[in-house]
Symmetry: C2
Subunit: 494 residues, 2 copies
């Protein structure tokens, strides 16, 4: 890599023109080590063999699965394969699909002790270490034998990689059976309800479980958890939603919108077609766009008070002149978080699932529209007509609309109707005061829509700022309050 670095340095010097020759400028030119580094990563990726190919792949699950697997989770999970088509709420179809999953503990004879764990946007099925994958999982300390939160001596825990993800489940990096090429941006848009219907096949068809003891999830997983109860009210007993919501809020949509636009502006994203192919083996993933999108996401995942106490407004070095590359401690933190993630996750999975979160809505009208679209798609699909080019799935001219057309009251009544199937479920809703992405009042809204203080089956826990400064990410970190509430709720009456 050294010669690449020197070459880049020479190119940079040349591109800056003669005006940069020392002595001919009043003040020194600024340096951009952060951009140098990105250019080095680009050059390095270009000089690699395609980063996702069969020789890369190890483990049993991968033998059935030739799609690229991102990050470090390349083995240690099982794969459920469904050969029946999955018709989708927005008019698309998956002719078949895979769900990657892991389990901990033992399913009892009555099949009554299963808990389904839903992940956040970018996590894999690896919630906890196992013999097949000894790496710590993303909820390592929340799970274990005799663990007071998720006790594997008692429960049978199942965690899946979300449909649309890139850790073994079918997603945009998977092959479209129509031509064997990656779906890329030909992947159909998913709703959270679609994701749940896919998961339900795993639970009912593969495991033969009629009724989950519980559905537990945080963030996107919190949405899924509520959605499981909405879609299959008879097939789940208890529901836990931490830092989720009943419907996305425009300010969360705004924050995810900018992440997507930044990622899509990376020329390497190439409208989704960045996977190396036989013809274009040197395509590289949009690592710069992913880094930037993750930095923005990180701003929404953590909280200002935490940063004040960790970083304040200190710079790496007060005596050096300020630079536009990371300089303040909080900037170096964001930079590090972005870089770490930039090659760990598939950009298209990120884009699709980010949009799926925006679209999340438990409203009745949303359900009805999805059902109608699924029936239409099924009819076309079963008559062997092509879906491509049909008006109901292609873009039609978009009306210009500048303001909402339904009132907040109508929208709320619609939401309450859609949530009716949840009214007699045992539900725990957990919110975090320092969470800016899924604020505590969105948790309070779920609680109120479910009857609030008038419904003894619904519990609401709110973490004050003194309990957690970790914002949206609290669910990954807080064993005492988040973990404690979940553990108590699951043990009750069991």
């Amino acid at each position: 890599m050294r010669s690449t670095t020197l070459l880049l340095a020479a190119k940079r010097f040349a591109s800056q023109g003669t005006s940069r020759v020392s002595g001919s400028s009043t003040n020194p030119a600024m340096r951009f080590p952060c951009l140098d580094k990105l250019e080095e990563i680009t050059e390095h990726l270009k000089s690699q063999k395609p980063f996702c190919n069969e020789s890369d792949v190890a483990g049993n699950a991968q033998k059935q699965n030739k799609d690229p697997i991102y990050g470090k989770v390349k083995s240690g999970f099982q794969v459920f394969e469904s050969d029946r088509p999955l018709f989708l709420d927005y008019g698309g179809v998956l002719p078949s699909f895979r769900i990657a999953y892991e389990t901990w503990g033992k399913l009892n004879n009555e099949k009554s002790n299963a808990i389904l764990i839903h992940t956040g946007l970018s996590a894999s099925s690896h919630a906890h270490s196992s013999d097949a994958n000894k790496q710590p999982g993303w909820w390592e300390d929340f799970i274990g034998y005799n663990n007071p939160i998720l006790d594997t001596s008692k429960w049978f825990l199942i965690c899946t990689n979300v449909l649309g993800g890139c850790y073994g489940s079918t997603g945009p990096a998977s092959s479209d059976p129509a031509d064997g090429m990656p779906y890329a941006s030909r992947f159909p848009m998913l709703s959270v309800q679609d994701i749940i219907r896919a998961q339900h096949r795993l639970i009912s068809e593969h495991f033969g479980i009629d009724k989950l003891y519980a559905s537990v999830g945080c963030s996107l997983g919190g949405m899924q958890s509520l959605c499981y109860g909405q879609q299959f009210p008879d097939n789940v007993q208890k529901i836990v939603s931490v830092s989720g919501c009943a419907r996305s809020h425009p300010s969360s949509i705004a924050m995810r919108h900018v992440q997507r636009q930044v990622l899509m502006a990376d020329p390497n994203w190439n409208r989704g077609f960045y996977y190396p192919t036989q013809e274009q083996p040197n395509r590289i993933p949009p690592h710069i766009g992913m880094k930037l999108a993750r930095e923005i996401a990180t701003v929404t995942y953590r909280s200002g008070p935490e940063w004040e106490s960790r970083f304040g407004t200190e710079r790496l070095d007060d005596e050096s002149p300020p630079v536009l590359c990371p300089d303040f401690l909080v900037e170096t933190y964001l930079d590090h978080q972005g870089e770490k993630f930039s090659l760990e996750y598939d950009a298209n999975s990120f884009l699709y699932l980010s949009k799926t979160m925006d679209l999340f809505d438990l409203s009745q009208s949303h359900l009805a529209r999805g059902e109608r679209k699924r029936r239409e798609t099924q009819r076309v699909y079963e008559s062997n007509e092509p879906l491509v080019g049909r008006s109901f799935v292609s873009d039609r001219p978009r009306a210009m609309k500048r303001h909402r057309t339904t009132s907040t009251e109508e929208a709320r009544a619609d939401l309450a109707r859609g949530m009716a199937p949840l009214l007699d479920k045992e539900i725990l809703v957990v919110g975090v005061k320092s969470d800016g992405l899924m604020p505590y009042w969105q948790q309070r809204e779920i609680y109120d829509l479910l009857g609030g203080d008038n419904n003894r089956k619904v519990k609401f826990t709110e973490l004050a700022e003194s309990d957690s400064l970790y914002g949206h990410d609290t669910f990954l970190l807080d064993l005492e309050h988040v973990g404690g509430s979940i553990g108590r709720f699951l043990r009750e009456g069991s």
Copy 2:
């Protein structure tokens, strides 16, 4: 532009490969009209003659000023030129500089009725329409003859384009006298204190005003307004700071950091050297990076409750399949805001002033360090040694530091010491509850640091959410509460 569009469409089709041929994919490929549009703008800019050249420039002020002037504010202002060097807090120097300004009303014989208005980051000196420029200004309704807020029958109002900006004042797009080429990223970093010292020359040397009646500003202008009192306590009577702060907060730094990184990742930014030159006449400005940065900024300027009431979670068309280009109403709003700004403001001015805001700090230690650096620079400069290459202004290896090294208590005491010169000034501090960028508690902090309830000269006004849902941008919109408070404060005792 039509042939360009067709060419682009053909190129896009080709780049997507054979897999996109209709019929060979299960679901239709997604379309990206937002990316098509960006490509069209790029092609259009490339086919234009350099966008900033002398023939572009009209008006008297411009005759003296051959630097590019951005956006619509190309004339109608005056220019103050200072030929004495300005030594800067971070070790740089401007051998000479210009300040663009406009005035309204008449300076009285005693020169006691002048009010200096400081702008936000991206505004020009055009706060109000005038004979020279009849376009409405950015504070049009706050200013006028017999206007209850800023009354031109009574006061002499001065508004400047901030140093570092691109509306007539010296900034990164200006020529470096050392070689006549644009400063670009050879421009020295500015502190808010530097900006104030430049403004003070205009006030004292050009206008001969010894004491301003008031210094008034919002956002960056609120920082400047306080800073004027800190730097020149004897030369200003009243101070108004709306949605400012005494020191930037790490969460604001984080939000501005991501804006800068996104902009710097645009290949057209070219490390700041995007201005067309004789050798490279076809350089174009980083319009995509600017659009994205402005979209992120807009998220911080407005508020969630406002978006909920304006847009809710409605999409342009619920029957069309969701797309990754703007789709929800809130997305089309952000997209529009970003695009509007993308060619209206100089990218380097945006980067430098955004960083200047991050660096804003009224602390004593910050002042002392700046004073020391300015003396060092002056000594070198006056001995005719080159500044370029000297260790105190170039990058030195940066220590790795992961956590703050001073406590919040020490930092606060430092801040209080730095603000001591403000203690006997008449000050109005205005905060807005729905402001997420400069939250009301940062306004409360200013008030408390100035003695709070024990200092009768300091006034604090806080706008509840019921008063304004407009977040940080409230200062541009709210005549009643923001305007009313300012008007009353200025009239008191006058």
